[in-house]
């Protein structure tokens, strides 16, 4: 016999949910409609954004040209982009370059950013920090142009030019890696 929904008592229960209430584990058996109303169904979970998997995200991002994109291959490890789509795992460090175009919107969606601003390996600190600072300013300059803030953009352009020509002795302020805990 099919169990009835505990909430409405009519429709067959299709969702079995474990829930914590006042420190006690409660088993709930709900029908589709009641589960959705109470926010337990997969559809509701999706709406909350919590159950979003990488796969779902990827699908939403480049669904149009799926076939063509899926065939791109990493020249170093041979991973197909379509395989990455299935597993959510890249094959080697070079994949980040091979799939750069496809990964960018994904990274933006996942992290809200596409540029690293943290530490760099030792020995690489000075150069890396400055290159990062320059890239950050290039991003800002592009945004300034888009907002038609041309004066600001020109300022940034000059700073970028100066930084690019300077000898490597002074890493940009706020450089990663150099910071020590204050506490």
């Amino acid at each position: 016999m099919v169990k009835k929904c505990q909430n409405c008592g009519k429709a067959p229960a299709k969702h079995h949910i474990k829930k914590w209430e006042n420190n006690v584990e409660v088993d709930l058996a709900l029908c589709d409609a009641c589960a959705e109303a109470k926010g337990f169904s997969p559809a509701a979970a999706k709406k909350s954004g919590l159950a979003e998997t990488l796969g779902d995200m990827l699908e939403g991002l480049e669904g149009v040209s799926e076939g063509a994109v899926g065939g791109i291959e990493c020249s170093r490890c041979g991973l197909l982009y379509s395989t990455f789509r299935q597993t959510g795992r890249l094959g080697c460090p070079h994949c980040y370059e091979a799939f750069e175009k496809q990964l960018k919107p994904l990274l933006r969606r996942v992290h809200g950013a596409v540029r690293h601003t943290g530490r760099a390996p030792a020995g690489d600190d000075e150069h890396a920090a400055r290159r990062q600072e320059i890239r950050r300013m290039q991003d800002e300059m592009e945004r300034a142009v888009a907002r038609e803030e041309f004066e600001r953009a020109a300022e940034l352009r000059d700073t970028i030019r100066r930084l690019s020509e300077e000898p490597a002795a002074h890493p940009a302020s706020g450089a990663p890696g150099g910071e020590r805990s204050a506490k």
Binding site: N23, R89, P93, L103, H111, A122, E179
Partner: protein, 356 residues
């Protein structure tokens, strides 16, 4: 040989549960993990077995010459049986995935169990430090010291644009996952928890249960961790998590005051009944222990004269897990036997004067 190193851990409590730390009534521990990969070798999932072997030998050599990891041992998974692996997973020293890993992989473990390096998990290296209480800076400094030494000996995959390159794009950048392990009974009891958890996820942090990713929430224990690893510096990530953690702690304390004002007697009754069960029961399941320990822990936090300490309670959370019990008993047990063994252990640990 590796198995004997695991045996050494059996009677010893994990540092992160046994020692007092800042805010330890609300925060059990702070964990920092850094994901790193070697530059010239495919990520673990796509590497050939011999390439994984190269990763192991390079990383182990680097670990052995590290002062921070001094006196540590490498435990190759291949040398450990399923019980020992389960044991390490219960101690949060290896991931669930490592329990079933059959390819070259392992755990580099320091004497005090503070710094660890998982080798050939999803990434070539997962450098982790766990400290008791809310101590984000302490955990970060510890993990960073290890990472800097390994960085001097190994060449990590890194790009100026994207930072440290990881197998999953969700870790790229800093490769850093920070998490705090919180105990929030008042928020659960006053039904404010949903609202608080929603708030946490809205600011881009993740909330998980007792055993990490995908696990259910048990005993009012929660893990809060960062998700963003790109576009935020390590310092910003630490400060964000600390700020949110403190807000959650304040909400817990507000809820605690309401509970005490409105239902003090009922709460005290619940707590002391839980203590009575732990001290008297002859059979206990693992889930029961977690929930009862949660209640008694709450009593300690409330300062209502519960005659046990937080470290003793915290340790029970790990010691009463199945593989720990089997290792302690030195033999396989039926479920009934195990529940009885667990109850004996709990009684012994929580009843003053009963032990030795």
């Amino acid at each position: 040989m590796s198995a004997s190193h695991v045996d050494e851990l059996v009677g010893r409590p994990s540092r992160w549960l046994a020692e007092p730390g800042a805010e330890s009534d609300l925060v059990l521990s702070t964990r920092v993990r850094l994901a790193r990969n070697l530059k010239d070798i495919p990520f673990t999932q796509r590497a050939a077995d011999e390439e994984m072997g190269v990763v192991v030998s390079r990383v182990v050599t680097a670990c052995q010459s590290s002062a921070e990891l001094g006196g540590g041992v490498f435990l190759p998974m291949a040398e450990l049986g399923e019980l020992d692996r389960q044991f390490l997973a219960e101690r949060h020293l290896i991931s669930r995935e490592m329990v079933t890993e059959s390819r070259p992989a392992g755990l580099y473990l320091t004497k005090g169990e503070h710094g660890t390096v998982m080798v050939n998990e999803e990434d070539h290296l997962r450098i982790t430090s766990v400290v008791p209480g809310l101590e984000l800076d302490a955990a970060w400094n510890e993990v960073r010291a290890i990472e800097e030494e390994l960085d001097a000996a190994l060449e990590f995959a890194y790009s100026d644009d994207l930072g440290y390159l990881t197998a999953c794009p969700t870790n790229v950048g800093t490769g850093m996952r920070l998490s705090v392990f919180l105990h929030l009974p008042s928020l659960v009891l006053t039904k404010k928890i949903r609202q608080v958890l929603r708030g946490i996820s809205q600011v881009g942090l993740a909330v998980r249960g007792f055993y990490g990713e995908g696990s259910e929430i048990l005993g009012n224990f929660f893990q809060v961790s960062n998700q963003q690893t790109l576009g935020l510096s390590e310092r910003e990530t630490i400060d964000n998590l600390e700020k949110v953690t403190r807000q959650v702690m304040e909400a817990e304390i507000r809820a605690r005051r309401i509970l005490l004002k409105e239902a003090r007697l009922q709460i005290e009754d619940k707590i002391f009944r839980a203590l009575g069960t732990l001290q008297s029961a002859r059979m206990l399941t693992a889930t029961e222990v977690i929930n009862l320990v949660s209640a008694v822990r709450f009593g300690v936090a409330l300062g209502i004269g519960v005659p046990v300490g937080l470290p003793a309670l915290n340790q029970l959370l790990v010691l009463t897990q199945p593989a720990h019990l089997t290792k302690m008993a030195g033999r396989e047990m039926s479920e009934t036997e195990r529940n009885a063994f667990r109850a004996d252990l709990v009684r012994e640990r929580l009843t003053p004067g009963l032990k030795g």
